[in-house]
């Protein structure tokens, strides 16, 4: 499995410096703020797409989502042809599409009430519910997922011990 966020390489001087800081942060030798400061000190307008991709990847690895957004936005502006930068930008995007609301499905309330009333009898087990109808109970979830996992009206869950 290789990718920008698993396979960090250095690109140019800036990339080398950032990679060194990134590795030191991973080794707990530097605080995470060192990466933000170093990134903000770089003139990204002089860097190429590979360098920006690597920087975004490292920022994602460090959970620096706001920085990753800044860098990927810059990358999209400067290198609109880069599919990889677009992909990374979408991964860290706050708005990935419209929020949709729809009337509640009454089955979920039925399932939650069933769990409150009968869940104790199935402690430690996985169960599948269709509203208040028990479809199955298993020691592991795999069988239920494979049988019912793609039925969006159902609830499949582990009952607390």
């Amino acid at each position: 499995m290789a990718g920008v966020v698993t396979d960090i390489h250095s690109h140019g001087d800036a990339g080398h410096d950032l990679l060194s800081i990134y590795q030191q942060i991973k080794d707990h030798a530097l605080p995470i703020s060192a990466f933000v400061e170093a990134s903000h000190a770089i003139d990204w307008t002089a860097k190429d797409a590979d360098e920006l991709e690597a920087a975004v990847g490292m920022a994602i690895q460090l959970d620096l989502i706001r920085l990753a957004r800044e860098l990927s936005a810059l990358g999209e502006e400067r290198f609109p042809e880069s599919a990889q930068i677009r992909k990374l930008a979408k991964i860290v995007a706050k708005n990935q599409g419209p929020i949709v609301t729809r009337p509640a499905n009454p089955k979920i309330g039925e399932s939650m009430r069933w769990l409150n009333q009968h869940g104790a009898q199935y402690k430690g087990m996985w169960i599948a519910l269709d509203g208040d109808q028990l479809l199955g109970a298993e020691k592991t979830g795999e069988k239920l997922f494979k049988q019912f996992g793609n039925q969006s009206d159902l609830l499949i869950t582990l009952i607390p011990e």
Binding site: Q96, F145, K146
Partner: protein, 156 residues
């Protein structure tokens, strides 16, 4: 708005009861019914400290998209002290299911672990920040175990 009307009337469009324990851990957690993509609903941990939502890989195999094809490989994602390799997938529809009012669905970034044969996924699904919790309103009533959620009428 008076001093006592702290929360606006249109703050939430939906409410659902939550469970306050996690079957896989001895800790208290807020677990609400939610669904990922076309999948069945599950009790899912509300985790404001998680950068992404996280989906059980066995569950993910039932998605109607090939997440390995659309995802970005991601190494060393830390989940409860264990590092996992896997895939970061953007645009996966995540829906919080209401008991009263309206369900709420938004596309979000989801981490799906890629387990090696020696690993098992014994954890629930998680609702995290990127693309989801950072875009919605929510409030918790711990006296009644109720989770309120909503959005602006015009999505910002």
């Amino acid at each position: 708005m008076s001093e006592t009307d702290i929360i606006p009337a249109d703050f939430a469009q939906g409410v659902v009861g939550y469970f306050d324990s996690d079957p896989s851990q001895p800790h208290s957690r807020i677990m609400i019914p939610a669904s990922f993509g076309n999948l069945a609903k599950s009790l899912t941990v509300l985790d404001t400290g998680s950068p992404s939502c996280i989906l059980n890989p066995v569950y993910a195999d039932q998605l109607d998209v090939d997440y390995r094809a659309i995802g970005e490989p991601y190494g060393n994602y830390m989940v409860r002290g264990v590092r996992y390799d896997g895939w970061l997938c953007s645009g996966i529809a995540l829906s919080i299911e209401a008991d009263r009012g309206a369900d709420l669905e938004a596309p979000a970034t989801v981490f799906i672990p890629e387990l090696d044969p020696s690993q098992r996924w014994g954890l629930p699904n998680f609702i995290g920040l990127t693309g989801f919790l950072e875009r919605i309103r929510f409030a918790v009533d711990p006296f009644r175990n109720l989770f309120y959620f909503g959005t602006e009428s015009q999505d910002s």
